[in-house]
Amino acid sequence: MNNFMRSMIAAAVMITFGFVGQAMAKDLVVVSWGGAYTASQQNAYHAPYMKQNSGIKIINDDSAGTAVAKLRAMNKAGNVTWDLIDVVAADGMRLCDEGLVEVINHDKDLAAAPDGTSASKDFGGLIVSECFIPQIVYSTTFGYRTDKVSRPMTSICDVFDTKSFPGKRSLQKSPLGNMEWALICDGVAPDKIFDVLGTSKGAERALAKLDTIKSDVVWWTAGAQTPQLLADGEVVVGSTYNGRLFKMIAVDKQPVAMLWDWQIFDLDGWVVPKGTKNKAEVMKYLRFATDTQRLADQSKWISYGPARASSAPLVGKHATLGIDMAPHMPTDPNNAKTTLLTNYAFWADNKDDLDAKFNAWLLK
């Protein structure tokens, strides 16, 4: 099909259905995860920004789950229709590596903290890539059914203890997290985990530990699955993102409690795709949406920790439930006694290899 015909059909289609007005210059298409997460961004960032800037209309696109592959395709086609993308840090680094997203000058492009601390100092070590603007700290951790266990679960190794805690558990169908937890419960010192995991013996050791519960595991691939499995009683304990469990416990009032032991911290944040047609508007929006107050505001809607140090003291109560949000944050001292931070450098090198080993193990 040649270009002429393509544009003719496109034009006919657009005129017929009045889509011409849909792609106005001042529309910003923001890609995020949908559901409660997008709602929190809408409330904390988009709505106030649109109020201040009547010329801008922010359109939510809920396809962050497939954003990396789709952005690669758009870039190849030279037709980038997104303006801003919410990704997890590992994907942000990958997109940066592939040259698909813009490099950010954090100090120049972002607002300083209210006390004048520069943005790069305020975010500190969370700036894991030169293209990535951290937004929240979330954790992958466990929730368990309080009505289906004989005593509260307190240790990550309880997940591996099928004698004391019989029943199915749900784990992510990925080596990330599971292998770290397996090694911890197999007696590896937490600071040596990645040294061990980097060797083929270490990988086998982790898989051997996972082998002890393999027949009791339901593997999940999307964030909503563990809450559903817990609610259905399909599993007694399962890993997922802490915000999902917060909703289950605080909003849906399900008989579920948190098991924070060795929660794994990860980051979620913004990247600006190369080829966006509204770069100036996006950068202006980003300066607003990532300032100290806005990041603190988001935590009124969802239990993820703001990425700026200066936002932490501003975290208040949940906007509709009125409960104090601080104790529900993964970064709260009571919850963060034992934690791991996702090792981006390690996984960038070893994900493909360990993933193949992990999948071969699953098939055994």
Binding site: F19, G34, T66, K70, M74, K76, G78, Q225, Q228
Partner: protein
Amino acid sequence: MNNLPPYLSVPERIWHYAFWLICIAVLFFLIFPLLVIIPLSFNDVPYFTFTKKMLSFDPEGYSLKWYNEFFTSLNWQGAVRNSVFIAFFATIIATFLGTLASLGLSRPQMPYRTLIMSFLISPMIVPLIISAAGMFFFYSRIGLQGTHLGVILAHAALGTPFVVITVTATLTGFDNDLIRASQSLGATPTTTFFKVIVPLITPGVISGALFAFVTSFDEVVVVLFVGSYRQRTIPWQMFSGLREQISPTILSAATLLIMITIALLTTLELLRRRTERLRGVTPS
């Protein structure tokens, strides 16, 4: 005694009833999963389980809130609009090209008929994940990935085999003497086409178009790859709903889809009867 007709023997009688029992069980197996969806869509809690209240027919266990959500949410509204829009244009393209090709294929002089036919119905045979992957790569190369046009063309390609198969099947029973009769009675080729051929193939064309429409309307794999959020269709929304935000809204959408399916099936059945009526008057 041994010469009694077999259908009167006791084992035969038992077998006879057993056979009917099996058939009823199979019909039940086919239809039960669809019926289960309907009460669940009136669930009061956000999960896919029958609650105790529902089982005791307590009105409090039921609610219309998922239907309310379906009709008010922007995501679902967009999905319905996109589904209809994409399926409509995909059907038009598939039906037009498919019917024209079938008329050509059914001419006795058509060369390489089998080869061309297998080529044309390949979109139906190739596993969807492969079609989706190939289209994802190629459509992004030429700038069609993430556009309505891209999804329409992809769905049209998937729908054409159905049109080709149903229309050629209609034409298999077509009596070429009718054309000759019409022409010998002085009709121009145009008149012959509109007065003789069109009425006869119409049921096949409509049934093929319905197949093409439903193919696009139900399709999820290709739209996930070739489409983007802006092209989200009902199945797209259902799939992401099953993975990201589980809620019985999916079930209310499903119930509505089942109703639409019943309406479409009734249409098909009526059309089939019409074909038979028309066939009845053609000499053969």
